[in-house]
């Protein structure tokens, strides 16, 4: 309870679309706190402001049309007013839609708290010709009336002043909603029984009315404290049932009250028949144009979030890349660096890289919602979505799912009905997100001829949609059962959204995401790092270190020998060192365009055979390195191995034609020492490459001995029916971090270096693994489509469903579905003669 006179607590109530949010933002600015009401997923927003030396705390209640116990939003609103003891209620009403808005006011009056009525959108009402008599309205509702225009921030001071005045008065409306001759005697009779023992905080008359209405929540409240009242209510209800329709009679009388107040408060009624909104609507929901316009709007939204979002996402990733490079260069190699670079930065980077998507998503969504188009979109497409057992508005999250599951799951917030929201959240990960594409393309290219790859890709996307439909239907039928949810939805007039409301909305969402999902993603990234890094085979790492050191020594020896053979004196040596340095700097400068120019065409020119050969060579090389390390561990001399290796390599290099000198080094060519320096430079590079190869062999060996790999072996019996070997299992486990990680993990395990862009070699490796067949590839694609969404998606899923329970259920059902799906895929493929 708010104490003292310098602190006023206010509950802000109103219909959806009445402009309540902009009033709230106008009063509190950025001083808001968003959370969840305990135990439920309804959002709790609290804002603060100061006025005339008073600290005002505003609880923004969910926007509702009514205060029944049938919807969690309405129940929360009612209970906050009763149990949190706000000094007063600020009821925002849409003046241009006053009659319906007063229906909620009637119910607020019954809670017997002081009310300030904020007549919002008074400009729109005036435009329609409405003239409202504020004094009469105030008298009829027992409240204080102020006029506001939320969108242009007019009347905010008036509300604050009103709040301070009403709070000082502490005067409840003192108005009784009349329920007619049949019911009033029953209310009076029941009220007598209720007031004998009312230890709840609800007013007596309210309890009597709600008991007669058979309001579930009130019945439960009264049951324990006053069983006689329940019994009396049942008797009275039975008696009344013959005379009135108890289902709706109370609501009818409240409407009657609202209509009466409305009619008596009007000095002048509606003048204008067709508003601007009606005209816009004629185009946007037109029988012929409606669907195409809807599709265009969706296309724009999708591109805004996924494609435009990719730019800032790329910048963040690049920034993280720089940070990684910097830390790699400035920190000593070791576990701490690995933890920070691979675990923490990997995690933070993943968290941050979703921010642009979320920001843009909510810019888009709040624009659609504030403008009024969202309701029209649902109107236009509801017929289609209903076939899936979903609501028209579900289309948006499902569409976003093709880009990224994270904004898709967060986008499900636009659904008002908790069941629709849950079903949408649970099926939207089946839409193939962008991160799954590299996995599909890798597998399709490795195992199928190019002319089939496209069909397979299309098939897997389609499969996702079909699975989503089936799962949605099943969830609707068996899990989220109960009364059919009404669709009946208000189509609010069109408005131009204000920049402020869009920005506040966006800010709120992003902070919420960072706070809740961010910590989860970070923690999970570190766990994935742990299982792929430990246990560390220090002995093996030591062997590789010895090899690297010996290699370095051998190279510097060979370089000295080479210089001696060229009769280079000490002064010339310094000059060569300088030249080599300049070459390095120039190469670095041109690193980017070199990558663009050279790599792409090289692939095309290769024949199938050459590529196979290359892949084979790459694997042989890694295996040879692994053998060297093993030999060192078994007591062989690292020096001997390195010396032999390096000697052969250097001999080959010096015998061969020197590497071609890139054009940008022409300026250095004038130096007569250039040819020697160029050889030294190439030898240095070879040295680095050699060390890099050892590092790669080491990490490859380490992941094969990690917990992740143990787990991969452990689940082999489970995955055996799908034909997945332990290597695939490890990739599947590691890819929980992010689906595209499957490609790089397969690369590491198959001991070939491959990024997401350069999968050609890996393709060959996979294609030539005898235990990896096209049928299994199809199975793996289906598995990737259906199994556990990535960490980030799971983090938001946990946040949006508000429970670990649902996360657990998702874990079981997605993995189960993936397993069966892959099994079917493998067998169907085999039945069609694909092995």
């Amino acid at each position: 309870m708010a104490e003292g006179t310098d602190h006023i607590q206010v509950a802000l109530a109103g219909n959806p679309n009445c402009g309540k949010t902009s009033i709230f933002n106008n009063m509190t600015g950025a001083r808001q706190h968003v959370g969840n009401y305990a135990g439920v997923t309804v959002e709790e927003k609290i804002g603060y402001t100061n006025f005339e030396g008073k600290k005002i705390e505003i609880i923004d209640l969910p926007g509702t049309y009514s205060l029944t116990a049938r919807s969690i939003d309405e129940l929360v609103a009612r209970n906050v007013i009763i149990h949190d003891h706000p000094e007063m209620i600020v009821n925002v009403v849409d003046a241009s839609n006053l009659e319906r808005n007063l229906y909620l006011t009637a119910q607020l009056i019954e809670l017997e708290r002081p009310i300030l009525l904020a007549l919002n959108m008074i400009d729109v009402a005036t435009e329609m010709g409405l003239k409202i008599n504020n004094e009469r309205l105030a008298k009829l509702t027992g409240s204080t009336v102020v006029e506001t225009i939320g969108r242009t921030n007019k009347g905010t001071q008036g509300i604050l002043k009103g709040i301070v005045d009403v709070a000082a008065d502490k005067k409840a409306p003192g108005i009784t909603i009349p329920y007619g001759d049949d019911i009033e005697p029953a209310i009076a009779e029941l009220q007598k029984v209720v007031e004998v023992k009312n230890t709840s905080e609800f007013p007596n008359r309210f309890l009597a009315v709600k008991l007669l209405e058979d309001d579930e929540d009130v019945v439960n409240t009264v049951k324990g404290m006053n069983p006689e009242a329940i019994q009396k209510a049942t008797e009275l209800r039975t008696a009344l049932a013959d005379k009135v329709d108890l289902d709706i009679v109370f609501q009818e009388y409240r409407h009657r009250f609202a209509v009466d107040v409305f009619n008596q408060s009007l000095d002048q009624g509606y003048q204008q028949r067709e508003s601007r909104s009606d005209k816009i609507d004629k185009i946007l929901t037109n029988r012929i144009l409606g669907l195409p316009i809807f599709l265009i709007v969706m296309w724009v939204l999708f591109n805004l979030v996924i494609n435009i979002g990719a730019y800032p996402q790329g910048w963040i990733e690049t920034g993280m890349g720089y940070l990684t490079d910097f830390l790699n260069a400035s920190m000593p190699d070791g576990l701490l660096r690995s933890l920070i670079v691979d675990g923490v930065i990997g995690g933070v980077g993943a968290v941050l890289s979703f921010i642009p998507l979320i920001v843009l998503l909510f810019v888009g969504i709040s624009f659609l919602e504030d403008s009024g188009y969202m309701a029209r979109a649902a109107f236009v497409v509801d017929r289609v979505m209903r076939a899936f057992g979903l609501h028209g508005k579900s289309f948006i999250p499902m569409l976003l799912g093709f880009g990224c599951s994270v904004p898709a799951i967060m986008g499900a917030r636009i659904l008002d009905n908790p069941r629709d929201r849950m079903v949408t959240i649970l099926v939207s990960p089946f839409m193939s997100c962008g991160a799954r594409l590299p996995v599909y393309t890798l597998l399709a290219a490795a195992f199928f001829p190019p002319e089939q790859a496209g069909t397979i890709l299309f098939g897997i996307y389609l499969l996702g949609v079909i699975v989503a439909i089936i799962v949605a239907k099943i969830l609707r039928q068996f899990v989220f059962t109960g009364d059919t949810e009404p669709f009946a939805m208000e189509m609010p007039p069109y408005h131009m959204p204000t920049l402020k409301s869009v920005l506040i909305h966006m800010w709120e969402r992003s902070v919420l995401y960072l706070k809740k999902a961010g910590t989860f993603i970070l923690a999970a990234s570190i766990i994935v790092w742990l299982i792929t890094t430990f246990p560390q085979n220090d002995e093996l790492s030591g062997a590789y270190d010895q090899l690297k050191e010996a290699t370095d020594n051998a190279y510097s020896q060979e370089i000295d020998n080479y210089l001696a053979s060229q009769n280079i004196n000490d002064d010339q040596k310094d000059a060569i060192d300088k030249l080599v340095e300049q070459m390095g700097a120039l190469d670095e400068q041109h690193a980017d365009d070199e990558a663009d120019d050279e790599e792409q065409p090289a692939d095309d020119q290769q024949t199938e055979e050459e590529r196979q050969q290359e892949a084979q060579d790459a694997q042989n090389a890694v295996e040879a390195d692994m053998k060297s390390a093993e030999d060192v561990m078994n007591g062989a001399s690292a020096e001997d191995i390195a010396n032999e290796d390096v000697k052969a390599a250097v001999e080959d290099q010096l015998k061969a034609e020197p590497a071609e000198v890139p054009e940008y080094m022409n300026e250095l060519k004038a130096d007569k020492l250039f040819p020697v320096a160029w050889q030294v430079y190439q030898l240095n590079k070879a040295n680095e490459d050699r060390d890099g190869a050892y590092d790669f062999a080491n990490s490859s060996a380490q992941i094969q001995g990690s917990y992740a790999s143990m787990f991969g072996h452990f689940i082999e019996p489970i995955m055996a029916p799908l034909g997945f070997n332990w290597k695939i299992n490890v990739a599947v486990v590691a890819a929980i971090a992010a689906k595209e990680v499957m490609v790089s993990t397969l690369g590491t395990i198959y001991s070939v270096e491959a990024g997401a862009d350069d999968t050609a070699t890996l393709q060959e490796m996979l294609a030539h693994d005898p235990s990896f067949t096209p049928a299994i590839a199809l199975g793996l694609m289906v598995f990737s489509l259906l199994y556990l969404p990535c960490l980030a998606a799971m983090a938001v899923l946990k946040r949006e469903t508000g429970s670990w329970k649902w996360l657990g259920i998702v874990f079981l059902y997605t993995n189960g579905l993936a397993w069966f799906g892959a099994l079917i895929a493998v067998h169907v493929a085999r039945a069609f003669g694909i092995n």
Binding site: T68, R100, D247, Q251, P486, F487, E490
Partner: protein, 77 residues
């Protein structure tokens, strides 16, 4: 005065609600939105796929699925 369901009304037609034949949540939602006996409703338009339907009630627009509109009995003419 003839009665029919709201779903049978043509675009632009006005009628007065006489009864609601739905139950549970749908009935309550309709009533909360102002669709109570005695209220005048007017059919505004149908969605491109012929469902839902948009009506005007108490000077605001409400969209209903045809299945919901079928439960609303109106008096016209």
């Amino acid at each position: 005065m003839a009665t029919k369901t709201l779903a049978e009304m043509s675009v632009g037609e006005e009628g007065k609600v006489v009864a609601l034949h739905s139950t549970g949540n749908i009935k309550h939602r309709l009533v909360d939105m102002g669709v109570v006996p005695g209220t005048v409703v007017r059919v505004m338009k149908y969605a491109p796929l012929a469902d839902p339907v948009e009506i005007k009630v108490k000077n605001f627009e409400l969209s209903l699925r045809v299945s919901e509109a079928k439960t609303i009995e109106v008096e016209v003419g």
